[in-house]
Symmetry: C3
Subunit: 301 residues, 3 copies
């Protein structure tokens, strides 16, 4: 019946449109934007399916900095709709036996990446629903088998595009692995009596402010009031790098110029700054998995 | 009648497609591209509607530089089709009582922004057709009400996406305000007798050339000829920063290396440069609302 | 018959969709991302057709560096699907008599550019199927004729958008020219007896490594083994800038810190580096059409 056929086609158009509307790939790397590497990845994705929508997280991850790649994913993934496919290529171990994987988070986001620690924070916050190893026998750009492979382009972008476009199902990525992603050890935010410990996750680099993973809720548990002093210790690995006292402030101007303060940053996490100065520069504090902090309230007298 | 229904669906597909084709959002900010802020804004927009097309103006506005944000909008908006929605987030006053608005220009472009001066130049050149205050009771990302709000993501990107996608009409942004946007005072280009006054709008930063808002037409009114000398005075607020003589030139090579010249830049506006040097660096000249210039032709003898 | 009409419309929807799915434009320039120039180009393209998909190659080509523009195209074009339209605007000769052209490569890619050397490498690798001069009488943004023209925006982006969207056919770009693009002379990779000569195409700028255009296959022809020494001479124009001996290595760690080595880079081309150092900085070596290299194996004793 031709009429049914027409309706069928209409439905097909409608449904393919609906399906197409989730076909987003978001790219992250340490490639920078000065050469053609990012564009080559996007070209490969477009070659898989012209229906895809391609976006960037950032390509300015410092070279080989897996921790920062993990942090940027953590900062961003949840703001995208479920079904979005992320590609994260910070891959100092290319050519070694690190696994190439796709994970599906419990929130329904996909991340295509070398499993080298990039998933540390997402696994902890969103949770991993499934992890699969990319079967490069099928999920690899045609013609890229011989000689050199640029994995970001030939495997990760290609597989992400196939998954996002529905060319393959998640099952077809490759074999199911355990949900245990490779994790970089770091100090989780914990309250031990009156002491709060945490990690220095990242610097607010433009201003030299120090951002921790200690949430506002934990700060509330020690009944901290504005203007109350905190005793602070900052460690790199086991070495104490800085120790001092600073008040908990609502605004930077609550302390004199050049003085330290504690505040909640834009992610509602405990942070440390110098008013009109760079805490990180002045006190040689950096960020990453091996930087930690402990704070406790100094009782008001 | 099933047939009518099929046609209806077809028409729906067609019209939704036509409608979708104007669904562009262009983002500007001072966030830079090193972290996840821009990507989070885009993720929120995609969560509103996967039909949207997301673009960037620039995210390299110097931190808190409202004037430059205003200038980049002025430089760009009119080249986009009417109906395009711009988001501009340079917001030093976040948390103060600056209003969050959407304006519709007389050319049919929309701009979502804190009303803090960002609209100064667009209001003057394109004109404001309507200005509405964003009603954050409805135009705010779900779940962002509690504790901290990243306005660029939770209010501006979200509202822009709703507007661009047709989820809300312009009326539904919020209450109508007067058309009087917050304007930063600056020296408009004026001819007073033989004297032309203007603002130093921006530096051509790569070369250190000084760009003014004085249009070619005004230069023609004083019958300036190539090689004719101009007497120039540059002011920061009320202080004279530089004073000198330079010829009006068609090419930089018309003066000796290191010598100043006056020329029309790529926007057909009066500009000042050093041949093979940086006028801005050498003479400590910057740009912005508080920089002004006056020139007059030196009569040929 | 209304039914046929419905089917016709359906087919129209389907085919216009299929057609729309190749409508990609990829932009490259030396404009940087700090101002509104790139966004203005994209706005003009969107004004031509909202169906287009707009991407970036890079906008960080060093100012006026035609060679590097040529290299980035060479590095990228082939990874995009046939039918993709590239716009490359590195145009030191704007206002001179350089031609504005669109070429179709033998692989079915289109490049819109001033014909000033940008096509040197693509012409050699992919081959030119057709070259046409842009007829600016028709292929120019409305209203841009008077006074100043920003060619990247008013001619190149506009023409690329018209071509990519099917508004014009390739024939309608303008008159057919010969296939002989303007080429920058450079040392092609050649084997002359036991000597291999080539060009220093680019620096791996982040690390200061020197990349040549000498392919792995040519290295194989001289039966080079890992650890075998090569005698190397580097020239700028006719002047020898560096001469030395370095071993052919699989990994950087095969030589002591600060020592030179020869390796195959990620494009499988002969490259030179210092282990943990910048060969380019230490020995004042740069890249471009006027930099060349010659190497020969030093016989093992």
């Amino acid at each position: 019946m031709p009429f049914k056929k027409a309706v069928f086609i209409v439905v097909l158009v409608l449904s393919s449109q609906l399906f197409a509307q989730n076909k987003s790939v978001v790219f992250q790397s340490d490639f920078g934007l000065k050469d053609g590497a990012v564009s080559a990845m996007k070209g490969v994705a477009m070659g898989v399916s012209a229906d895809l929508k391609l976006y960037d997280l950032t390509h300015e991850i410092p070279a080989y900095n897996i921790w920062e790649a993990a942090y940027r994913l953590e900062q961003t993934v949840l703001y995208w709709p479920a079904g979005t496919v992320f590609v994260s290529v910070v891959d100092p171990g290319v050519g070694t036996n690190r696994k190439s994987v796709v994970v599906k988070t419990k929130t329904g986001h996909y991340i295509v990446t070398p499993d080298n620690g990039t998933l540390t924070l997402i696994a902890s916050s969103l949770g991993i629903a499934e992890r699969r190893e990319i079967n490069e026998a099928v999920n690899r750009r045609n013609g890229s088998q011989k000689s050199y492979t640029f994995h970001g382009r030939d495997v990760y972008a290609f597989t992400a595009a196939r998954l996002a476009s529905g060319t393959i199902s998640f099952d077809q990525v490759g074999n199911l692995l355990s949900n245990e992603v490779v994790s970089i050890p770091y100090q989780k935010a914990v309250k031990e009596g009156n002491l709060i410990k945490g990690n220095i996750s990242i610097l607010d680099i433009q201003y030299g402010n120090v951002w921790t993973n200690i949430p506002a809720e934990m700060v509330q548990q020690i009944n901290l009031k504005y203007a109350q002093n905190l005793s602070i210790r900052i460690y790199h690995k086991r070495t104490k790098v800085w120790e001092g006292i600073a008040p908990y402030c609502e605004t930077f101007g609550a302390v004199a110029k050049g003085k330290p303060l504690v505040y909640l940053n834009s992610l509602m996490q405990l942070s440390i700054a110098l008013n009109m100065g760079s805490f990180a520069d002045v006190f040689h504090v950096a960020s990453g998995s091996d930087w930690s902090i402990s704070v406790n309230a100094v009782e008001k007298k």
